[in-house]
Point group: C2
Chain length 220, copies 2
């Protein structure tokens, strides 16, 4: 931990290049929040469905629609089942996590040994994908069906990029299907915060209007 001279007195600087990985993890996961949670479903070679949550995850584009997530390694340094199950061009589902699904999602974060199928072990109902062979979580209020387009490795960071081919929404969250209006509040999604198991609801919301440049000029 470094106190840099250029830092104002009411701020503290951490030189991440001089800190161990565990410290960097603690600092960054507590600071880059709220993170959406990708509850990723994959299909193993044995036909079992693997389900695991990742909050190193983001929406990265819509033309084409791209999501990125980073499945880290297991404690012993081997890739997690999720990564093993997504070869180049491989398929996966990203199930979004509602407050009602928080406990089930957390249970799939248990360090099951390789070969344990979380949905079976935990009684999580699945339903077939439309665009991919990987099932989605039946109770997920939103599920993205994806195909890997690129996988990057930067040090021990593995980032999987997927094109989103299809989206399934709980019917009561579709406000206007023709105009593609979604009732985000009805999804009741949660976000990941820092710390061992801290999450935020998305129920306390507010709206700010975007300011067009012409309008901003008039206000000057």
């Amino acid at each position: 931990m470094t106190q840099a001279p250029t830092t104002p007195p009411d701020a503290q600087h951490f030189d991440l290049t001089a800190l161990p990985a565990a410290a960097r993890y603690k600092l960054l996961t507590a600071t880059v929040v709220p993170r959406p949670i990708a509850w990723v479903g994959t299909l193993g070679a044995d036909g079992h469905v693997n389900l695991a949550p990742y909050s190193f995850f983001g929406l990265m584009g819509s033309d084409p629609p791209v999501v990125a997530f980073a499945p880290g390694d297991r404690a012993d340094g081997t890739p997690k089942d999720t990564a093993l199950n997504i070869p180049p061009g491989g398929e996966f589902t990203v199930n979004m996590v509602s407050a009602a699904l928080a406990d089930a999602m957390n249970a799939t974060a248990t360090d099951f040994p390789h070969g344990h199928a979380e949905p079976d072990a935990l009684g999580i109902a699945l339903t077939p994908g439309v665009k991919v062979r990987v099932p989605r979580v039946a109770a997920a209020p939103a599920a993205l069906e994806c195909r890997e387009v690129q996988t990057l490795t930067i040090g021990r960071t593995r980032i999987i990029l997927g094109e989103v081919l299809g989206l399934t929404l709980r019917a009561d969250a579709v406000q206007d299907a023709e105009r593609h209006h979604v009732d985000t509040a009805a999804l009741d999604l949660i976000g990941r915060l820092g710390g061992r198991g801290t999450y935020a609801h998305t129920r306390d919301t507010f709206t700010i209007d975007r300011i067009p440049f012409e309008e901003w000029q008039k206000g000057q």
Copy 2:
């Protein structure tokens, strides 16, 4: 919009490969939430600091610490200033947005013409970076200092990956500097939801304990 036969009756499927980009954008931004907001600072060739918010953003690793964000193109198809200002190996700051900074952040999303320096125009105080030449937002409760390590283009999606070299936190959010404990609540960050300008606070939180495999087995 497609209603697929394999979709259960209480769900609605959207075939994203058959929808225009604007529809995909509306559906996905309303569904992949809450997204953390990267208020990205860059330095233009003219020495002006550019500041713009992106919620196509995520933490992607801690070994090395990596963030990814996707600055889209302007409406006319040219890259946004943020992307122009980050050449290979280029530097940028990711300022996290507290509720108190929401209006200032939103003002920098105004479509200022190229060359307009948002911080000057809007009176947003900056302070020097420690590890990079790009300043950070003085009032940001957390700021990441980054260096570009890779830029990807997938269709019209441009994804910039940066290594996080340094982290500056508001002093009162540092619970225990030696143990790297951050008081996330003190940061009072906001997340991006769908719709034109809807955001979520991170004040309504809850905690779930991770279940170790041995403990799970005992419960069976």
